[in-house]
Symmetry: D2
Subunit: 368 residues, 4 copies
């Protein structure tokens, strides 16, 4: 294995200084397995992925890698460096409000037409041609005559790298969160390798996120081919790993997640050695069963339900303290839900407006 | 005319205090004309609409109104009161980043099915039934079991009021901007009444804004009916008026815009008296010809092109000063465009990242 | 005991709406003991004091109070309601940057002159006269011809209430913090009543905080009198209680702190019943031995030292991860201090600029 | 003249990237005149000083310089690059709220003691020794065992450079402002060279700003020496130039200010050629007569008084629109002052809280 470090310029600041991202490329001596792209910290406060990449690189030094691995920590320098008060305001572009993870390119390819023109190709050549088409679409977007927004430029440059890999991992965290995985429905077996107890099974809809930007075009191609009677597995795997809470660096925990990723890479043949996944129960639900619960009133919040622990219907979710209403029955309101769920994450602050997204919970959970 | 003032609660703050909006209802003694809904200041820094409503109410006291008029200034109290430094951070929800004017409800009505069930109604009854359907859809959204976000609740409550009117005006401003109007293509003749020189003709696509949330469902119904062979004009009019620059209150200029609105209301029969529109040239382009130009580099910006004044291709648009590159040919870069345009607005700050939206310009402009 | 609730207007928002604070007044039937003023949440994210006031009021219903108690939760509505991203930006005025707890009035009284004019008074009358002088000074500030800043007005209105009490408690929290108490040196014995393990002994210097604004003028008077040969104890007690971490509501923990406050109030004769303080070791250091440690480099932070637990010199304080330097000996830097200390609080975010205040630690700690 | 460009590292970001400032050093071939230090953009939105430095460097290429000139544009990269919404949040550290121009070092030199030890030196050697003492004090601060805050490090590094010059210019702007100059009282004649109509005469008090950090230690030394019977002029000149409004780059106007600076440098012998100051009336007042007027109510603001134009007592200053109070006599409140003044600057936003600093005005203005 050889390691190369590069620096990618993805923008310029108002002072004129370059916005750059460090890139580590681990090159297999004899690449036989799939290639991998891993990025972290696209949301500025979600820093733990950097620690996971650190642990992963340290461990990979001890393995024989059979596929090239590109690692992109600190993927959003503007978002990471943007403090507002004591916290990192890293979820959206401070100028436009656009979520940094909704900036990836929706390719505007006419699939019917494209496949009509390429259907005589065998699978390998077809994949090669389609990948080329995706990359050209990214390049074309980056070179628009009218320019391109700061966040879109960063995203499409990252996406261009990711399109070149067979496996794409985007490392995120929730606000106050247990670990969970966004996994496309066609790839559910992959969820049994990561050290992650909860999985969201997502459909073939592009909403702007990195993982979707990678698998959706291929999934759509695969489905279109199927409709014409030709079977081809989706040739890429792309996941978003939510590695606990934001504003947290924990090296030991990062090692656990690095080992989960290694287990998956081992399974996929990216490393020659066998790394077994952790033996743990794993659960899932469909994305339509992943519910956002918004606070029905404003006030101070005591979060009662623990993330990652099943909560029965009617059990206490949170208390809302309204000290201004002391002496009435509204001074303390206990909130609960009408159905069983697993709370996955809750809001980061202890006070909310009416309507703030208080908890996200999985319902209709099943073991996988 | 009778005037009623109400206060609408649209949320609760973390302290528990109500978020409220003042509402003025001008009731016609004998309502024969269309009803009107006018709101202002949905983006927190875009305050001039409040001054226009002030001037409008003062003038309306001197007219005979034939249709009920609802006026909602200060429509976004959270956005208006959210300062960040010396300016108002009022364009998006400070927690989520969502643009306050992209929060309106996309009705999820199966038009084919709905029309099939209602096609025996005459136009009047059909309109009544469809309006009821839109209002119920709003109510249903507001009463979701899982709650509703802060911004969506505010928007849908405003939208519910607007759906009850025949004419809807949403008063905004640009950052540094000349006056311009967002006008649906079917209603282009309305543009000749307002005191606004530039008009954007917008298609039947819902993007989340107030005006679209009002006219799109009706336009879609009208087009569906047309496809079945029945003609019905779109029975509502909805416009976004961009009244110059944000962070500006100018009472005299507000009077000019109030008179333009009165000219339109006079034309529509909302007031009994004749108010003539200002005799001025008016220009338009299609929304697809409204271009965003993003800064190709980071730096300090001298805005050279004046908003509202035609700019020939290759004429200077802006200078980008890069004092850090003094002594090279990149210390001062003059930007220009490859085609004729009318700059409509430019960015509010004098320094930009690479990719910041520098100017929005109309191309392929024609007189209307 | 009778309970009265009032609402104090302390400002107006840009929308024109009043900024108000809820005030609870618990009136003794026969006031014989000292009077008390307790406020909470002057820093917007430091919400736990509201829960402590809630628990305190619930408990006080069961006691006989001998002194009037004024409780002011949610004391800074602007700060509490100002979100920036998912957190509360509540430490400073968003327009000016001024810390909300540095806005209290430094009385500009010529002590030598004042005492010369009042020295014939006995202690009771002297105290009465000086209190009147302090209150008039506040009123005069509030009525300045040139107006008064938003934050200063709020602070001086709170201060006016606090000046009327004999005991003043200002409930705060740290960012990520153990419980600690700011206590003036003359009042050190009070520290043995609260449920707080660490105490900072502060000198007679006014820096703008509430507690100082209350005790400094009296301490200065007392010291001046002493210099003239007349002894008078400082007749007021004022403390800042730091009740753990910000962005946290925990009702059970709030009860523990409420009981500590009751123990102090019991000792002072504010309640008739005996409430014993918790038997626990308590430690202190002088304010000059309370050290801020600033990060010597920028990067991602793993906080290793636990707040509230003694840390020997050279033991690990924190790791700074610099993933961009992977492969060098600077990828992971372990920070430590040169002397024994007790870390009291650390920064809230897991990434820092060079120079960010990483930890605050007590040195030269002794048991009290 | 030779020009050198350097880059000064003044910090590190959370991503690990260096915070750097570009520095241009113009070296005289035969330095006979005083040396000069000019910085710009310490407040992030106050960008026009960069344009002035640009014009100054272009002009200086045509002159013979007799003293070394150090030019430091873009002096606060963190502040310049920190956007919040469409504007630059550049007035204070986003984490701490501390004003970037209140971070300079107050030297803690025991003047009586120092002078006692150095009084046998002649003026030249005394100046040399004192300058060395100031620089060592800066170095000592930068090397504190406990670290140093982000803003303080940046400021003290800039201050170290400025202490080495005889003339120091700090280029700022106001929010919406006319041009004005902060000038120490001992240096009033300098005000007649710059192209600036209004001057504030400031006393010998250190408040944390750059100009004060430079002249106060020398002024104090000079006054102490005078008290011992030895006369020595303050050997440094330091000014803050407020060059109009923030968020504005205007190259032609920058040239006018560059010519004013050249006139002063010519007068001082920094350039060999004669540059005459602009013939214009210039006015001044003492800092105690520079008044901040805070809004007596919250609402929407129409700024009526023009900056830089005298305003008689009782003349209209601003209108506060309270559309929520339409129909009452409080819907529109006209504000005025009780004394004659010259409005120098006003708040940047068109809506205010009660207590927002609305205008700063000079009173008791006299011609100089």
């Amino acid at each position: 294995m050889r390691v190369f470090q590069e620096s990618l310029k993805i923008g310029e600041l108002a002072t004129g200084q370059d916005l750059t991202i460090p890139i580590f490329k681990l090159k297999a001596l004899h690449a036989s397995g799939p290639s991998v792209y891993i990025q972290a910290n696209v949301h500025g406060a979600e820093v733990q992925g950097n620690a996971v990449i650190y642990q992963l690189m340290k461990r990979l030094e001890q393995y024989n890698i059979c596929g090239d691995i590109t690692l992109v920590p600190l993927a959003n320098p503007l978002g990471i460096n943007q403090k507002s008060g004591e916290f990192t305001l890293g979820r959206f572009d401070p100028i436009t409000g656009v979520n940094w993870n909704r900036e990836y390119l929706a390719h505007d390819i006419d699939l019917v037409d494209w496949y009509q023109n390429n259907k005589t190709l065998n699978d390998t050549d077809l994949i090669h041609a389609y990948k080329k088409c995706l990359l050209e679409s990214c390049q074309s977007r980056l070179q628009s005559e009218w320019g391109i927004t700061t966040g879109h430029q960063q995203a499409v440059m990252l996406q261009s790298m990711a399109h070149q890999a067979d496996i794409v991992l985007d490392l995120h965290t929730g606000p106050k969160s247990c670990k969970h995985l966004y996994c496309p429905q066609y790839d559910v077996q992959a969820a049994s390798y990561f050290s992650i107890p909860y999985t969201l099974l997502i459909p073939n809809d592009f909403g702007g996120a990195m993982d979707e930007s990678i698998f959706c075009p291929w999934w759509q191609l695969s489905e279109h081919m199927k409709s014409t009677g030709r079977e081809m597995d989706v040739p890429v795997s792309a996941f978003t790993l939510e590695l606990g809470s934001q504003e947290n660096i924990h090296l030991e925990d990062a090692l656990a997640d690095a080992m989960g990723i290694l287990a998956y890479l081992s399974h996929r043949g990216v490393i020659a050695e066998k790394v077994e996944p952790v033996d743990m129960p794993r659960y899932a639900c469909h994305l339509t069963d992943y519910k956002k619960y918004h606070s029905p009133l404003g006030g101070m919040v005591e979060y009662l339900a623990k993330v990652g622990e099943p909560l029965a219907a009617k059990e206490p979710l949170a208390n809302i303290l309204r000290i201004d209403l002391y002496g009435t029955d509204k001074a303390l309101t206990q909130l609960s839900l009408n159905q069983d769920c697993v709370p996955i994450l809750h809001f980061a602050s202890a006070s909310v407006y009416q309507g703030t997204e208080l908890y996200k919970v999985m319902t209709n959970v099943f073991e996988i």
